[in-house]
Amino acid sequence: MGNSVLGIDAYREVAPKGTIDFLLRLAERARGRRFLHVNSTRYGGGVAEILTRLVPIMGELGIKADWEVIEGDPEFFATTKAFHNALQGTEQVFTEAMLEHYLEVNRANAERLRPAGDLVLIHDPQPAAMIEARPPEGKWVWRCHIDLSTPQRRAWAFLRRHVLRYNAAVFSLPAFAQQLPLPQFLVYPSIDPLAEKNRRMTKGEIAKILANLQIPDDKPILLQVSRFDRFKDPIGVINAYRLVKRDHDVRLVLAGGGAADDPEGAQVLAEVREAAGRDPDVYVLDLPSNAHLQINALQRSATIVIQKSTREGFGLTVAEAMWKGKPVIGGATGGITVQILYGVTGYTVNSVEGCAYRIRHLLSNPALMRKMGEAGREHVRRNFLVTRHLRDYLSLLVHLTA
């Protein structure tokens, strides 16, 4: 069955008891209202993945939900990519021509789509300037999914002019909020428990995928899933593994992607391979971006999942791993600290040594690992599933359009 045809009832068996009925009653309060989402892509990326699921379910709940996607040329998307990087703190160069083209493409999209609704949720910077063409009725909210904690001043100053015209903004973490004279709401991102990346798998399916990836399952597996990016500290993970290896015969899997179209990613991947050297128990996997089932199988095969980032947006791989009942050791940064309940679902750590210590501690306490895995799954069930995300968006709709 394709994911797109799954309705709200499919979530009854995974969401906390009573959640679906609660959502149905909440949606009653907003029945018939128009809720429009606008973003920059229909496929690929976390926002599109969630909207693919949320929008049809909202329709099923009686909300007039729609999803529009803006169009742009390569120059436009090069500029918005630069915005993305600059807003996340990487210095970028913007020319007047780039900024003018960004506005021009937004104007053209506003003319083509004529976005309107009781609530219009504009996702991320790409369509943010469409606010200039807003109709007088309806509430417009800017939904920022990126880490805005240390933006490049010029990029943020440009974008802020447009954000000021919204009725409200929504951020994924308190640290991402800005000084703005408008209400700012907090909505955590979520995982879809029924998507390929998170759905149940049989032992046979998992074994087959591991065999295809040529990873034996005769030793405990330590796993980190992330892009090959220095902020994910893959070298630190290898160093932590080496400290652990003195006492425990384990295998390390570093699984990531994005190296193919990212020069820096390719460089980091090369550094990681060099650091791994000829150790037969270190596996470095450069997977394609659609390797959802492989990631699922790896997470389910892992004994401990690591996300040793030194900087992180939200880091939903943590929730993915906890959903599969795994204890998680993560860097004490960004959304990782929100997801890991210290000592309950795993540990946050601040150094290679801390990471190694906690891995050893858990490997020596299998009962604790099981307990943390169970607690993690329940924590995700209550806080990081798409059903909670739906509840938050419905709350926003009810609150702003009452």
Binding site: G18, D21, F22, R25, L26, E28, R29, F171, P174, A175, A177, Q178, Q179, L180, P183, Q184, F185, L186, V187, A332, T337, L341, Y342, G343, V344, N350, A375, E378, H379, R382, R391, D392, S395, L396, V398, H399
Partner: protein, 224 residues
Amino acid sequence: MAQPAPFVFFGCIELRELLGLRARDERELLEQLERAPLGSVYYHTHSVFLRHHQVTGAYPNDFANWVAFQVRDQVLGERLAVVDPFAFGSLEALREELVSVIDDHIATLHPVPRVVFGDPFFFVQSHVIEVPTGMEAQSLGEFRQCLAEVDASSIYFHALESRIRRGHPHGDFAEWIDRALGLSPLAEEIARINPYLGGLEEIRLRMLRLLDAVLGREAAAGGE
């Protein structure tokens, strides 16, 4: 005789609003706490019950958790944790107590403890949205049945939210039992349950015990 008005159970959810106020040390925490809207004082001292369903070893308010686990000042964490919001007649009085505890603690400390590796404290307030549960009770027996099944957010809404933000000092449960059923002694016992000593499930458990005792006595009297 006219039927009493039914008790209609509502659940709730909260939409969290970031206030843009943050603190990196205990003096900033004090200063921002003095400036923050009362809704934020409420959020950081009450909504924690709605958010934490698990036993995490955490303290029952966000201020105590932050100084204990982010600033790593266990002493102030403990002193803030023991402040019982139930003991204050208003959120303003509760705020004054929290400010006083922090002020007293940092008066002798040089430098003032600050967060080094942890996160700043972010002030938040919430907008509680009520959601009908579809459950209502006409009698004490029906009320008991609904209470046993209803979502924990319903207990939060009727026992905490109603007391602090909707002007029902004894909570909705006690008021209905008193006014609609005329069971004042039971209502008084329910009103005395301190929500801060055990969380929402503890409130449910204690209420069920009290209700069972009354229903048991009624059944015994009916059988005589």
